[in-house]
Subunit: 325 residues, 3 copies
């Protein structure tokens, strides 16, 4: 499947990739790479990347034809996927992604937006004053869009959605019956870059934000789009005010997230999870289904299904309360 | 007193209430309920609700004629108040409130706002560009209202108030000499609902936000209106940036709340309280007068007057510092 | 150097200062004070202030001619600087500063802004809809300014800067190649006042915000300007979403600050520092260079260079993890 929003500037030859990464080889390969994707979404003729043994199981079944990886990790790849050995996998991935998707690195405001009155809407939309709409925007029927809200380019909104005032949305799929309240920013690039003195190198973000049916997103929330995969919020999940969801996070269905919670990049949250106010979840974690995280907790490791945790670092709630009488 | 903002669609007969709650009785009652209110504000002929023995003292003196409650709690009610026994008091209250106040469930943007230039203001107000004003809005003299700010329906602002830019206010009483800075959202419905797989059931919010004289509300603050009672901030209380105040919270006079603090629903904070940055206070707590809560603390139980606390869970500050040298 | 933004209403005679502070002396002094500044920036003929022995080393070399201080601290001053002994140094400083800089106490919206189309821009600027620009604003070449953004008075923006949508900036120097994303508030007065029942006394804020080259400021960030000194962010420092930086904070170069971090007033953060999400740093602290602060930590004391800390209160990360297995 081609990318829904960012234009793929592929194909690109393996030769060219090696040249961009400053890798010298004896025999040139004219093989044409069509796209770059993560391990599970990559198709034949795609390039993918493997940077941690955390992903070794997924690596085994990737369909990609080539993979940016290290000497230590290359043996997890199937025979159909040829390794390209690099020193820093994420930086190499960033360099190639920036080449294939040159528009995914920096978010500047959408200069092509028009006043909504000047846009030819297919459906019945009720809108406030000073609403702006960019290119490649599709709004379903019976939607409400509040004052001063900016729907920048690459947004698909389902039916019966309610968007508040002063909100900015870009690069996102909003499914049916979703409410997004005031002052939110949805779909901006994530906080991803390679630190470099003098000038940090920004990471491209070709993922999007997907908010599934019946969700509610509170005021002042920020939900960043993914870098190589999407940021996704499951059906009927409710977020309170001032919540921050970083890039690549996936949240399951029927989850409840109270005010000022922050979820760092690439963490996966199960379904029927309850997260109390101001709790924080570190990056790259897996939180199971039916988990309760007490308000104010700091979660720094995976949490299995059906567990209640509290504290910093978060531990079993009974243990925490016994130790902190 | 009738509701200042939401239109009461009462009276409603006791019969009808029982029918809505799916309760079968032998003898029908044509008694007409005029309104639904919390225990202390309910008047004769009103319906109220009692869902926890935490409120048993207030229950004893309620003036309501009927009360939604459980078999275990019904004996706390005075003889003048007849119990209606239900399984889930809050859900029953929600169902009846939604019937009496059908417009208090979801906040959609105010479609009836006008540009402030087109509104007939009684008083001297200095305003910025692109200011919008809804119906049932009253602004006192010598007020300032910043650019892009939206005063939606049901707002009463006193004299000499300063409202910043990009701020949204609805369903609120702002008293004299109050400053509300930029990018705030004041008076939206709280984060209250009954979790239900497939589609959560939102709780009605018929409370308002009251901000008393001489308060200051920092940038990016969110103050939600109450569900059955009001959210109220006492005189001369100052909130720093990015503070979140949930529904039904009451804060006393002369209190100081530093940046990024969050106060969960229905907690009561005393006067002359100091709350350090990023501290969190759980819901349904009572924090006394002259309390100091150190920055970053997580408060999970009531705190008596004149106490200094720190830590998570917050405890006496001397004890905390001794244990954490 | 005269103040770049706030108009100095000096000179003011020492006589007048003593009168304002209600200090009676036998012999009047007609000496003219030109300005009020902090210990290190004060020049000859200026007034300065010394309120804590934390600043005794800086006090020894101040060039100020007069200093508001206490009997206990006055001996740290050089002979060229005469003490004016007061009970409450900060309140006296506030009173005199309010007199010399009367426009630095309250931030009301800038009534003199114009639509950017009506402003005579010297350079090539690409801007969105509904952008407002105040007086004394200078924008460099090749800048982008997003929709609904308000550049209020006293802002200097360098070349090649990218400002998002719905952002408010005032009293700030933004250097070259800086990105400020959506919904930020930069340069408002800090949360500084003297608590007084009935009506708090606001502290003047004559400092500005300086954001140096190549910085990125995430969505929903608030950066307050300084009271007597500036708030400053070093080159190539990146802030994620919903970060709060209080007045007078200084942050070094190449520092990385993750989402929802809060830094309280007057703290100094070194260079190459990494601060994890939701961490909080108390006021008036010194965090060294190359420090790592784990997400969720609460820092309440100074941290030396090259240290990794975690926890609340933050301590050596190895110690914290050993104690919290």
């Amino acid at each position: 499947m081609s990318h829904p929003f960012f234009v793929c500037h592929g194909p690109i030859s393996v030769d060219k990739i090696l040249e961009l990464l400053d890798i010298k080889v004896d025999i040139a390969s004219k093989f044409e790479i069509t796209d770059i994707k993560d391990l599970s979404n990559a198709e034949q003729n795609s390039l993918t990347f493997l940077h941690s043994n955390r992903y070794k199981e997924i690596a085994k079944s990737t369909k990609a034809s080539y993979c940016l990886t290290t000497n230590l990790l290359k043996d997890f790849l199937p025979k159909t996927c040829k390794p390209i050995i690099v020193e820093n996998v994420l930086m190499a991935t960033s360099i190639i992604t920036s080449k294939i998707y040159p528009n995914s690195i920096e978010d500047t405001f959408d200069v092509k937006v028009k006043k909504i009155e000047e846009v030819n809407l297919k459906n019945n939309v009720k809108y406030g004053k000073n609403v702006l709409v960019g290119e490649n925007v599709d709004i379903g029927s019976d939607c409400l869009i509040g004052h001063n809200t900016i729907i920048e380019k690459n947004v698909k909104i389902g039916n019966n959605c309610k968007i508040g005032s002063n909100t900015v949305i870009r690069n996102s799929f909003i499914k049916d019956n979703v409410s997004i309240l005031d002052n939110c920013v949805i779909g901006k690039k994530g906080f991803g870059f390679f630190p470099k003195n003098s000038k940090n190198l920004r990471y491209p973000h070709i993922g999007i934000v997907i908010i599934n049916e019946n969700c509610e997103i509170g005021c002042g929330a920020t939900i960043d789009r993914g870098s190589m995969s999407n940021t996704e919020i499951g059906k009927n999940t409710f977020l309170d005010n001032q919540v921050h969801i970083a890039h690549n996070v996936k949240i399951g269905e029927n989850t409840i997230i109270a005010g000022q919670v922050g979820i760092a990049g690439s963490s996966i949250i199960g379904k029927n999870v309850r997260i109390g106010g101001q709790a924080g979840i570190s990056g790259h974690l897996k939180i199971g289904d039916n988990v309760d995280i007490a308000g104010g907790s700091g979660v720094i490791k995976d949490i299995p299904n059906n567990t209640k945790v509290m504290g910093y670092p978060a531990k079993n709630i009974r243990e925490f309360l016994r130790e902190n009488k």
